[in-house]
Symmetry: C2
C-alpha cells in the first residue's frame, strides 16, 4: 500500500522536493568543506552557503508554500506517514516564522565572531577574551526563546529546537535518576579498579595507513554498504546524509591511542545506519531522515558503546588489529576489552568513558539553565564550571581550556543541545534491553559477526520510520516508554559491576 495517498499531501511532498534539493546541495557543500575543499575556497563557499540558505528560507516562507501547508493541516483521515509529513513541515515553518530574520542574522554574525574569539581564547586558555561574546550569545538565545515561546521556562524553547518536544522537566527527571546513580556507580567502579587500569595502548603510536586499513576492515565486518556510503577524513568526525542512498561518515587519525579513530568510525557508522535504513519510500520527503538529535545519538551510541566497547567486539576485531596494526599482538582479549571500556574520571567530555560521560552533560545542563532561565554573571561561569566538575566528576580543571572553553557548542551560539547526548545514551540502553528481550543476547550475535540481524532489528524498531513519529511518540510506540534513565543505569551496572 502506498504511504502517501492524500492528494494535498502528495502535492506538498512534490513542492517540498525543491527544499530537499537545496538541503542536499548544502549537505554536500558542508561535507566537502570538511574533507576535500582547497583551503582558500572557504570564502566563496561561505557566500554560496549564505545565498542558498537565504533562498531556502524564502521558498519555505513563500505564500504559495505556506498556504499549501495550511491546506495540508486541514486534511482529515491522514495516515501516520501523511501526518508525519504535516508535523515536520509545519514545525519547520512555525520556527522559521517566529524567528525574525534580523535575529537569525545577528545570531549567525555573532556566532561567527564568537567562534574565532573562542578558538583564540582556548588556545591561550583565557576565558576573558571569549566572555563578551558568550554574554551576547546568551542574550540572543534568550531573545530566541521569547520569540519561539514556551509553557514553563525559556530554556524549554531552546531544548525543543534540538529535540522536538523536549522540556526542561524531562531533562531534570533524567538527571534526578542519573546524577546520584552514576556517582554511586562510578565510586564502585573506581574502588574495584578492574576498569580503571591504564593500557599501554593509550600511548602507542600507529601508522595512519595501517589504521585506515583497520577502519575499512571493521566497516566490512559491520557490512557498511560501500555503494551507498563512504568513509573520509576530517578534523572532527561527523555524518552527512545526502539521501537514503548517499550517506557519508568521517574519522580522524591522530597517530596514537587508536581506539579514538576506531570508535569515531563505529559511532558515525551508527548514525549512518539510521539514515541508510529509512524506508526508501520516504526518500526526499520531509520525513525521509532521522527524527531528532537524541534518537540519532541513540543509534551512534548503541554501535559505539553497546556493541563497540564490548568483550565480544574486542574478540571479533582483534585478528584485524593484530594483522594490520600489530600493536595488539601481545595484548590479551581481556586487556583489549578493558582498553576499549576504560572508566576514569577525566576533564574532557569528548574523551570521557560511558560512566562519567553523562556527568559532563549534567554539568552543562545546570549551567545552561542558569544562563537562560536564571540570573548568572558570565564572570562567575568558569569558577562554577570548575566547582561542578569537582563535585560531579571528581576532577578540577587547572585552566579554562580544559574547563569552560573545552567545547565549541556555546561558541557556535548553541545552547540546549548538550542534553541530546544523554538522551542518546539512554535510547541506546533502551534499545539494548529491547534487543535482549525480543531477540536474545546481543553479544552472541556480535561474536558471530551477525550484524545483519542487529541492523534488521534496528530498522524495524526505529530506522525505517524516519521522522514519521515525533521522538517521544516513536519511543512510546516502539520501546514502550520515553527517555527512561534507569535503563542506562541498569545497562551500565550490568556491564561495569562485573568482569
Amino acid at each position: 500500500m502506498p504511504k502517501f495517498e492524500n492528494p494535498v499531501i502528495k502535492e506538498l511532498i512534490e513542492k517540498y522536493r525543491r527544499l530537499w534539493a537545496l538541503n542536499h546541495a548544502m549537505s554536500l557543500m558542508g561535507w566537502d568543506e570538511e574533507t576535500y575543499m582547497p583551503s582558500k575556497g572557504v570564502e566563496e563557499r561561505a557566500v554560496a552557503t549564505a545565498e542558498l540558505r537565504a533562498l531556502y528560507q524564502e521558498l519555505l516562507l513563500s505564500d504559495q508554500f505556506v498556504s499549501l501547508v495550511e491546506r495540508a493541516k486541514a486534511q482529515e483521515n491522514l495516515n501516520d506517514y501523511e501526518r508525519g509529513v504535516v508535523r515536520v513541515v509545519d514545525r519547520e515553518l512555525r520556527i522559521a516564522r517566529k524567528v525574525p530574520p534580523s535575529l537569525t542574522y545577528e545570531m549567525a554574525k555573532t556566532s561567527s565572531e564568537a567562534f574565532m574569539a573562542w578558538s583564540e581564547a582556548k588556545r591561550r586558555s583565557d576565558f576573558s577574551a571569549f566572555k563578551p561574546y558568550l554574554q551576547k550569545l546568551i542574550d540572543l538565545n534568550k531573545q530566541m526563546a521569547e520569540k519561539l515561546g514556551y509553557e514553563e521556562v525559556p530554556y524549554d524553547a531552546l531544548l525543543d529546537l534540538y529535540e522536538e518536544g523536549l522540556r526542561t522537566r524531562d531533562v531534570k527527571a533524567v538527571f534526578d535518576v542519573l546524577g546520584p546513580g552514576l556517582r554511586g556507580l562510578l565510586d564502585k567502579v573506581v574502588s574495584d579498579g578492574y576498569y580503571t587500569v591504564p593500557s599501554p595502548l593509550e600511548e602507542a603510536k600507529y601508522q595512519e595507513e595501517a589504521m585506515r586499513r583497520v577502519n575499512q576492515r571493521v566497516l566490512e565486518l559491520l557490512k557498511f554498504p560501500q555503494d551507498r556510503a563512504r568513509l573520509d577524513v576530517s578534523p572532527h568526525p561527523f555524518t552527512t546524509n545526502m539521501g537514503v542512498n548517499d550517506v557519508r561518515i568521517t574519522t580522524r587519525y591522530e597517530g596514537f591511542d587508536f581506539k579514538r579513530s576506531l570508535f569515531s568510525v563505529v559511532h558515525e557508522f551508527g548514525h549512518a545506519t539510521y539514515e541508510l535504513q529509512v524506508d526508501p519510500e520516504l526518500a526526499m520527503t520531509p520525513i525521509g531522515s532521522g527524527v531528532s538529535l537524541g534518537v540519532h545519538e541513540g543509534q551512534s551510541r548503541f554501535w559505539e558503546n553497546v556493541i563497540g566497547r564490548s568483550r565480544a567486539f574486542a574478540s571479533l576485531i582483534k585478528p584485524v588489529l593484530d594483522q594490520e596494526l600489530g600493536l595488539t599482538k601481545g595484548i590479551s582479549e581481556d586487556d583489549l576489552y578493558r582498553y576499549f571500556a576504560t572508566v576514569r574520571p577525566s576533564l574532557i567530555r569528548t574523551e570521557a568513558d560511558e560512566v562519567t560521560y553523562n556527568l559532563h552533560i549534567l554539568l552543562r545542563f545546570e549551567l545552561e539553565q542558569l544562563m537562560i532561565n536564571g540570573e548568572v554573571k558570565v564572570d562567575e561561569l568558569p569558577e562554577m564550571w570548575n566547582d561542578e566538575s569537582e563535585k560531579l566528576i571528581g576532577v578540577r580543571p587547572k585552566n579554562d581550556a580544559e574547563g569552560i572553553l573545552q567545547d565549541v557548542h556555546w561558541a557556535h551560539g548553541t545552547i540546549g543541545y548538550f542534553p541530546t547526548y544523554t538522551l542518546g545514551n539512554i535510547v541506546a540502553s533502551m534499545m539494548y534491553f529491547a534487543f535482549s528481550s525480543r531477540v536474545g543476547d546481543i553479544y552472541s550475535y556480535v561474536t558471530r559477526g551477525d550484524f545483519d540481524t542487529v541492523k534488521s532489528f534496528l530498522r524495524d524498531l526505529v530506522h525505517k520510520y524516519g521522522a514519521t513519529y515525533a521522538p517521544k511518540e516513536l519511543l512510546r510506540r516502539q520501546l514502550g516508554e520515553e527517555y527512561n534513565a534507569q535503563r542506562l543505569l541498569d545497562y551500565l551496572s550490568s556491564k561495569y559491576l562485573k568482569h
Copy 2:
C-alpha cells in the same frame, strides 16, 4: 580603481550572486558525481540537480531579475567590465527566453535515453540501435536552432550556443585553410618517418601509485596552487571551477601508455590555470570565469601540446619519470620526446595527435552541417563517416564503434560543439607566437621550469579578463586577430617538419 561603479550594475551583480551560488552548488554536485559519490546515490543526485536547474531558470526568468537586466542594458557610459556583465547576463537571458521549457525538457529526456542507447550500441558496435535517437536529437536541435534564430544557416544558432558569436562561415574559413594544409603536412610527416615510429612506452604497463606520484610532482613543477586547486580521479578527465579560489581537475589511470594520464593532467591544468588567474575582483560575477569553450580549449591545448609535447618538457620531467615510474630509464630524451609527440593517422579522435586531430573535427563539422542545414538520411551517416575518415585521415573504421559511435557528444544531444576543439588548437598556436614575439623563446622558459613567467604572460594576455570581452573581441584586442588557422599550420610545420 574599482571595476564596478555604476549602481545598477552593482545591483545586478549582487542579485546575480544567488544564481552564482546555485551554479557553485551544481558544479560541486557534478564534480562529486564523477569522483566520490557512492554509486547508488545517482538517482537522488539526478533529482536534486533537476530541481536546482529548474529553480535557477525560474530565478533567471523572474520579472524582478529580467527588469533589472533591462535597466542595466539602458545604462550609458559603462566601462568594459560593466559592459561585459550586461553582455553575459543578457545573452544567457536571451537564450533562456527563446527556448521553451517543453523543448528543454524534451531535449533532456531524449538525451538521457539516447545516452543509454548509445552506450549499448557502442558496446555492440551496432549503429542501428542508436539511429532512432540520433534522428530525434537532430530534429530537436533543428527546432532549437529555429527558436534561437540565425542570420545565415540554422547550424549558426547551435555554434553560437557553444562559442559566442561563432558562425558556420568562420568555421568554414578555418577548415578551408586547415583541410589541405594538414593533409599536406601529414603526408610529409609520414613520409619522413621521424615522428611516426612507435615507442615501446605505448605498451608499457605502470603502477597507479607510481603514476599518481608522477602527476603530483609534475603539478609541483607547474606550480599548481594546492591551496586553491586539487587533482582527483574520474573515468573521463575534466576541470570544474567552483570559484576563483576553488578549481579542481581530474585524470584517469588506465595502467598503460602513461602519457595518456600525464597529458590529461597537463591539459586540465591548462583549463584550471585560466580560471585560477581570472582577476579576483570578478569573482562571483557573471564575468568571473573563462569566456568560451574555444578560448578555454586554447589554454588547455597550449599547456598540453605547445608546452607538454615538447622536447624541453620531456627533458624537464624525465628525472621525475625515471625516479617514480622507472619505465623511461633506458630511453633517450629524444625518444621520450617522440613518444610525447608521435604523429600517426588513427581512428579515434581522443587518441589523435596534434597533426591529425583537427581532421577528425573537420569530419564531424561536415556531418553536423548536413544534419542541421541539409538533408541527410540518418541511415547514410555511418558510411559517410567511414568514407570521410578514409579521405581525410587515411584510415577506414572497420565498425561503428570505432567510427560514428566513438564520441559521446551527439548522444548527449550536443551538435555544434566539436568545432570549439579546433578553435582551441588555433588559439593555442596564436598564443605561442604571441609569446615568441613579445617575450622570447618559450622553450627556454620550459627548460628552466620557469612557468611563473609563462603563467603571468597568459594572465595578462587572456586569463585576467574572464568573460569581460566576447571571444572574438578578446582575440582581436589581445592577439590582434580572430581565429587564424594559418598560425596553427605554422606552429605545426615548425614543430613537425624538423627534428
